[in-house]
Symmetry: C2
Subunit: 373 residues, 2 copies
């Protein structure tokens, strides 16, 4: 292997695949990025065996690439990223000099780094899966960003650590829940004739979102083992989480007794301020609503109390008093990404929903917290 490449696009490509690498991989070669030089392009691969990212790099106006000799090697991602970032030159050369020893040189500096033989890198199957459809990158970012934070971070029910993706007809739905809150976001797809329900690890989706920036369209390919995202020059694939995803629609109330519309930023700020008062590390926020005002308060034996009034923009129903996790409602409102929020309640101990009054494609549901004061 021996090639010359422009530093900046090479660094960008290395960084984007490196998102797949986890710090403590049990397989040594997975701490590295596999760099393959083919006849006319490079293939960079990184994986933590749950998520794998592969990116092709071709010569272009912005990227000079001259391949003198095809070949492959695996180099620890920390080393290759640091060297390429720090090298003081617009171009650099990578050359396999002896076994897996790789020379990386630019301007007056030269590094000889102990790589790992490409033959020791796991054989990752990147073949396309049966079901295939296309989705706008911005739609995919929307459904992930509006749900992924609500997935569970506890391994007690593994399926809840993922986001459920479901395609039925033209409706593509993402749902996440940790059983105390639920987030659901829907987009419409054109001309689709496949149905599926798969659950993807939240961690993988966080990496997918990073790579989706600046992209237009994504081809998704789905099987019962994995999901692939094909972007311009980049392929991200993630394993699925086994297990039946719970039927979540029945958790969403059909009827509501109270509802109000309120300025999203005012409510967000008030909850943020109230949330700093924690009891045992948890922020329980109380909401007392009537047609005149919404009062946000919090209290802890140790710290003290807070109290704040906001005037709702509309109000239906009688007086209401309900307590909830400040963090959950804060994250739910933020995910709506709207200037106003509509909150609907069935009763003081029933789950309530937080909606964007101008967009019914997203729903956030939060369970109240029982308090004794």
């Amino acid at each position: 292997m021996n090639f010359k490449i422009s530093k900046r696009p090479f660094y960008t490509a290395l960084t984007s695949v490196s998102h797949a690498i986890s710090a403590n991989s049990p397989i040594p070669s997975l701490s590295g990025i596999k760099i393959e030089a083919l006849e006319d392009h490079l293939v960079l691969t990184a994986s933590d065996s749950n998520i794998s990212i592969q990116r092709e790099v071709y010569a272009s106006e912005d990227c000079e690439l001259i391949i003198f000799e095809p070949g492959a090697v695996v180099i620890d991602s920390r080393y290759i990223l640091e060297i390429v970032r720090k090298i003081d030159s617009d171009q650099l050369q990578l050359e396999l000099v002896d076994g897996a020893l790789t020379r990386i040189s630019g301007h007056l500096a030269e590094f000889n780094i102990n790589g790992i033989s490409a033959s020791l890198y796991p054989d990752i199957d990147f073949s396309k899966q049966a079901i295939e459809f296309s989705v706008q990158a911005k739609d995919l970012v929307k459904v992930i960003a509006q749900t992924v934070f609500a997935a569970s971070d506890k391994e007690t029910r593994p399926v809840l650590t993922g986001v459920n993706f479901r395609l039925v007809g033209n409706e593509f739905t993402a749902v996440a829940t940790d059983s105390y809150r639920l987030a659901k976001s829907v987009v419409s797809l054109d001309n689709n004739d496949t149905n599926f329900s798969v659950t993807l690890p939240a961690k993988s989706l966080n990496e997918v979102v990073k790579t989706l920036e600046d992209e237009d369209e994504v081809i998704m390919s789905v099987s019962d083992k994995k999901v692939q995202f094909f972007l311009n020059n980049t392929l991200i694939q993630t394993r699925l989480i086994d297990g039946l995803y719970p039927e979540t629609d029945r958790l969403i109330p059909n009827e509501y007794a109270y509802e109000f519309e309120i300025d999203a930023q005012d409510l967000l700020n008030a909850i943020d301020r109230a949330s700093f008062i924690k009891s045992d590390g948890i922020s329980v926020v109380r909401l007392e609503a009537s047609s005149d005002e919404v009062v946000i308060s919090s209290k802890s034996q140790e710290v003290g109390s807070s109290f704040e009034k906001i005037v709702p923009q509309s109000y239906k129903g009688g007086d209401l008093s309900i307590s909830f996790s400040g963090k959950y409602v804060y994250e739910a409102i933020r995910a709506l990404n709207s200037s106003k929020v509509l909150i609907k309640f069935s009763g003081p101990m029933k789950p309530f929903v937080i909606l964007n009054p101008g967009d019914d494609s997203v729903l956030q549901l939060v369970l109240p917290v029982r308090t004794y004061n």
Copy 2:
């Protein structure tokens, strides 16, 4: 206690005194900021018993301050900083409502925070010490910044965890050493007739530097127990470290056999690149110099090797080969803050000095490392 104050200057003042607070104070009241309202101004005090900061806040063009009722309370610094930062109002009111319970209110939000009675706050002696002199803030920042990083972070010889300040005649000298390197910086003071040698904790000096920004002149006051820095409205005082500071001047060689001048940024970058190759977590960098070139290299069994050439701007002496800690030399060069550096060597196993060729008021000395290859 009851007063009204502009949010922004109050937050700035709270932040600046909060630098004295350490996370794990054994005395509960020291996790708080003492807020005293006097007839016409506030006094804010914070301390970790090693370093104490006191700041006075007066009404001014930028700071409305109306004191309705004098008094004092101590409030946990995390709570008061977070509330004042988050409160959604240009002005806020602080009022002692019941015992140490303090109401902080602004616009529509109100917090009732459990404070600590001011009577439980330690009595800190802020009285001025015998020796007093003035120094330009920029000079004080210079001598601290050019030395403090070289102090030891190990408690085996406590006196080495500090920076030694010495005033002899008009010469004000700061010295720090961890016994593997030494940093020395000197400034001239006008019209001075006092002499002293005191050792201040490096940690305190790091806080002093933060507070010195945007100041012109500092009055320093010194005794054998503490040092005080009087700035505009702010007083910082720190305890001293007991013990005789070692005579460091004898460590600095009198004669040199080799020397070269080189571009500071080129050398800094080369050492930075070479340093990423670590053996057992330590970056040992090798320098091989001759009249034509300076070669910076590094090597580790595990990672590999690096190699880089720089052309020196001048060179005296024969060929030289020496190894050193990349981190130490990197920090030394950076502290010089100059475009060129002059490095002088007595021999391959002797301490060497790194100088700013345009400024002889600062000296960095580093001990070489013995290597076996």
